[in-house]
Structure formats: structure tokens, C-alpha cells
Amino acid sequence: MPINSSANRRNAIRMVLAGLAVLGIFCLSMFIGRYHIEAGRLVQLLTTAPDAWLDHPDTSVFYYIRLPRIIMAGIVGAGLSAAGALFQGMFRNPLVSPDILGVSSGCCLGAALGIIISGQVGMAYLVPLLAFIVGIIAMFLAYGIAKISPGDQVVMLILAGIVVGGFFEAALSFIKYTADPYEDLPAIVFWIMGGFFRANWSVVLNLLIGVLPCLLLLHLLAWKINILSLGDEEAGSLGINVKVFRFLLLCLATFMVAGCVSVSGTIGWVGLVVPHIARLLSGADHRYVMPMSMLVGAGFVMLMDNLARGLTSAEIPISILTAAVGTPFFAYLLIKGRGQAWK
């Protein structure tokens, strides 16, 4: 990257600032929670060895409830935002969110199935597993339908995604209708609402293993995404095997989105709004938009979850908070002409 360009230097500085901000939010989040831990005591806790974590409620709350939850929120925020940025670039459409291929609907359906099938034991594994699998199936269904349909592939993908999403939503409604009203239905409704209260170290570990490599790959491929965003014909002329590359990116993003949604439920507006914020900060170039989306997404969701778990003594469903912040901001973007990244 030529460092003599002032635009690039400005972007680099902003990236560093964003990174620091995320770190700051992470640290701040550690101090937030309904279980009060003195600031000094908390710092002291940070040096406790893992085998001593269960010895005292202070450490057990901090290390088993609070910390995994903050990390989970950060990773899911980054994952959903990066996928959103990718889809918006790939589909050349600012109104696209990671749900576009029906992945979220698939995950909800899978989770509902998992809840119904599982007995009291085993739900912790079966539900995210089925959610993940059905989410992936949704993507492949949409992709398959688009592939055999004539016409512009990008438009077909969006339409197929709407169809698949609609179908899974209908199936989900049916399941809710027939579900046991005591055992299953409340659990299904609750799961769909989304949130990070299910956080524990095994979930965090799975997310780290599954999502981080995807984030890294998306970051490395960011420049190629610029070219892909020019349209199929031009990208092809510039040497990109569009069919293969798009499929690869779809798989990557879907894997990431399904992985996130299968443990956190549906969290709205993040994948749609955060990439726009990233573009406002760093322009249209995906080399910057991609990492910036990840950073802003992680920070944003961590902040929202702080409110969700700390503002009142109840848990505020996080989708309400992300919508409360996301929708007015999106309206603002529309009014201002969607920022300079689109005309």
C-alpha cells in the first residue's frame, strides 16, 4: 500500500483507533454486570489461576458468566458484520443483510427441531448443531435454486434466498403451532429472540475455532471482493473465476453466520448497519471495510450486550436494543444519501 497517500494514512489511523476502541469496550465490559465487583477487586481477579476460578462467587461469576459472554458477543458481532459487508459487496446492494440467503431462518428452524427432539439432556449440543446444519442447508438450497434458474445470478440468488427464507419461516410457524406449549414452545420462542446468555467456555471455544479463521480469510480476500463488486462480467474480464470465487465466499460467510446464529439466535440489524458505519469511516475499499466492519461490529455488539445484561435487572432481549439503535441510524443514512459510499 503506498503510504504516501493521505487517504490511506487516514484509514490506517482510523483502523488503529477502532482497534483501540474495541479493546477499550472490552475492558469496560468486564466491569459491567448486575453482580457487583469492586474495580480494584476485579483487577485482582484477573491474576487468578483457572483452577481457583470456582472457589469464590466473584471469580466464578466473572470467569464463567461474564467473561465468556463478552467474548462471545464480540465474536458474533464481528462475524455478522463481516458477513454483512461481504454480502453487500458481492450483491452490489446496500440493503442486503446476512439473512439474505435464508440462513437465519434455517438456523431458527433447526433450533426448533433440536428443541423438540431433545430430551432434558442433550439440548445444549443438539440445538446449536441442528441450527448450524439447517442454516447451511438453507444456503445450499438457495444457491441450487439460483444456479438452475436463468438470468443474472446475483439477482437470482437474492430471490432464491427470499424464497428459501420464506419456506423455512413457514415451517417454523408450523412447528410453533404444533409444539408442546409447556415444554417446547416457550423454549423455541425464547431461543429465536436471541441473546448471549448461553455463553460458556465451550461455546466460546467453538466460535473461536470456527469463526476466527473465516474472519481471517475474508480479510485476506478483501481486495478480490473489490473486483467482484464490479459485476460478474467485469470481474471475469479482470481474471476472477466468478462462479468459483463467489461460491467459495458464500460458503465462508454462511459457515460464519450459521456458526454465530446457531449459538446466539437471531440478532438483527448488526449485519445490515455496521458495514455502512464502516464505509462511512473508511470509504468503499473492502481492504478497509472488511476489518473495520469486524471491529465496529465487535464493539457495537459488546456495547449492546452490556446494556442488555446490565441496564435493568432483567435481560433485555438484545435484538430490541440493536433495532433501537440500528433503525434510526439507518434512517439517518438513507436521509443523508446513504453516505458517500453509494450514489
Binding site: 500500500m1 503506498p2 497517500s5 487517504a7 459487496g89 452490489r92 446492494n93 485476506l220 480476500l221 481486495w223 478480490k224 473489490n226 473486483i227 463488486s229 464490479l230 459485476g231 462480467e233 467485469e234 471475469g236 474480464s237 479482470l238 481474471g239 476472477i240 473465476n241 466468478v242 470509504g283 468503499a284 475499499d285 481492504r287 458517500q340 459510499a341 453509494w342 450514489k343
Partner: protein, 254 residues
């Protein structure tokens, strides 16, 4: 090295748009494709670019069918300058131009210092160096066209395909672009196939001319051989006369 088109045909549904076209493109030559709107010029170019698969016939470079090349390899051989472009993202001219370096980069690579230098050189050669930091969406249609040309230039390909590149340019820029193309072809020794709407530009700059009428090649050869009054009149379906002024030929409507 030559690019050969053999019996190329294409139909949109029932309508045959390109019919049994045969010609060759040699390096170091500017070949102009003339014809009315809807004569199949764009379709022909898109087939050579492998954006469309021909119904019949084939395209070879040095004897090898282009279908056997990877996209990346093909992009090193052929650079395409599109007619229109649906701009969605606000890239700068420099960033847009450096995208032309993609065929020379591997999967995870990012443009290097050298790639940027080549991009800036391309912008200089095309004459819009001062616009390099401007967002390409803020430019006029003509300036944008020049950015695409610079991008094609950065590809360092053997053949350039241009689809009515002068369509949005003012009089000065039309000639400036064609002159630049001549320079490029001369310096790089590449070949250029340009679809033009103005036959006078062909008179000024073409080495060879292909006349396309309703998908069929009705005339191919040197400027002198093909661009006669009768040929041109038939091609454009109007009374045209070729005149010569100070040694420069041009065509006028009667």
C-alpha cells in the same frame, strides 16, 4: 501471436445476432469494428472476452481455444474496456486502475508498490493523472471511460477489446483516446479491436476495418479496401460519400 475468430455465431433465443464471423487480430494492429446499433458488435466482443459462450465456432489465441484458458490466464491475454458500468461503490481512480493488475496477482495478494506504480503510469499515459485520488463516480462519463482504459492498460494484456470507448467523449477526447491507443499499440506491440460508431475515427486511426451488418461480416480488410462510399452507404443504409481533404479521407452524409 494472433487471435483468430472462426465461424463465430450467437443467437438470443430465435434471433441470430452474430452469424458465422471469421477474422484475425494481429498484434501491433488497430482493428475497428464498424456497424449500426444492433449489428452484433457488442455481442462479438463479449464472446471474445468469454463473457458469452458462442453457439457455433471458436476463438483461438495462437491456436489454442480460449475455452481452455483459466480466467486469470485469459485476463493476461485480453483486456476489456466496457461500454457502460453500473457504479455502486465509490472507489478512487487509482484503486480502480490497480484492479487491472489482478491477473498478475495470486489469490491472497494485495497490490504492491510496483502495482501501484504501474497503475499510476497507466493513468498518466491516458492523461488523467490529476484525477487519481478522485472517486470515479464523481467523474464525467468520459473521464470514467479513461479510467477503464487505464485499468485495461494496467493489465498489460496482449489484446485490447474496446466497446465504443468514444461514446461519451468530447471531440478533443475522442481523438486523444484514439491517439493514446495508437501509442499503446505501438509501444506495447499489442493488438486492439475497437467497436466504433464513428467511421471517421476509423479513417484516422485504423489499420484494419471489419464491417458488421446484421451479425454478418460484409467487409474486412485495410481501410482503403473496405471503406468505400458504396460499402459505407450500404452499411449505414444512407447516402454516404468518401471524400479526401489534404490527404485525409473522411465520410460525409450527402
Amino acid at each position: 501471436m494472433s487471435l483468430d475468430v472462426e465461424n463465430l455465431s450467437f443467437s438470443y433465443g430465435e434471433r441470430r445476432v452474430v452469424d458465422q464471423c471469421c477474422f484475425s487480430l494481429d498484434k501491433g494492429q488497430i482493428v475497428c469494428l464498424l456497424g449500426r446499433n444492433g449489428s452484433g458488435k457488442t455481442t462479438l466482443l463479449r464472446m471474445i472476452n468469454r463473457s458469452l459462450l458462442p453457439e457455433e465456432g471458436r476463438i483461438t489465441i495462437d491456436g489454442t481455444d480460449i475455452r481452455h484458458f483459466t480466467r486469470k490466464h485469459l485476463a493476461r491475454l485480453i483486456a476489456f474496456v466496457p461500454q457502460g458500468h453500473n457504479a455502486v461503490f465509490a472507489y478512487t481512480a487509482r484503486d480502480m486502475t490497480v484492479m487491472g493488475r489482478n491477473p498478475h496477482m495470486h489469490l491472497f495478494a494485495r497490490p504492491s508498490q510496483q502495482d501501484y506504480q504501474l497503475a499510476e503510469a497507466a493513468l498518466r499515459q491516458v492523461g488523467i493523472s490529476e484525477l487519481k485520488d478522485r472517486c470515479y463516480m464523481d467523474m464525467s462519463g468520459g473521464e470514467r471511460q479513461l479510467v477503464f482504459l487505464a485499468r485495461a492498460l494496467a493489465q498489460q494484456a496482449s489484446y485490447y477489446l474496446l466497446d465504443e470507448p468514444t461514446a461519451h467523449l468530447d471531440f478533443y477526447n475522442q481523438h486523444a483516446l484514439m491517439k493514446t491507443l495508437c501509442q499503446i499499440v505501438e509501444q506495447q506491440g499489442s493488438g486492439a479491436l475497437i467497436a466504433l460508431h464513428d467511421p471517421n475515427l476509423a479513417f484516422c486511426y485504423a489499420d484494419q476495418v471489419i464491417m458488421l451488418h446484421q451479425g454478418r461480416i460484409v467487409s474486412v480488410g485495410s481501410v482503403a479496401d473496405t471503406m468505400t462510399s458504396s460499402n459505407l452507404s450500404q452499411l449505414y443504409n444512407m447516402q454516404l460519400k468518401v471524400v479526401s481533404l489534404d490527404g485525409q479521407k473522411m465520410v460525409m452524409a450527402k
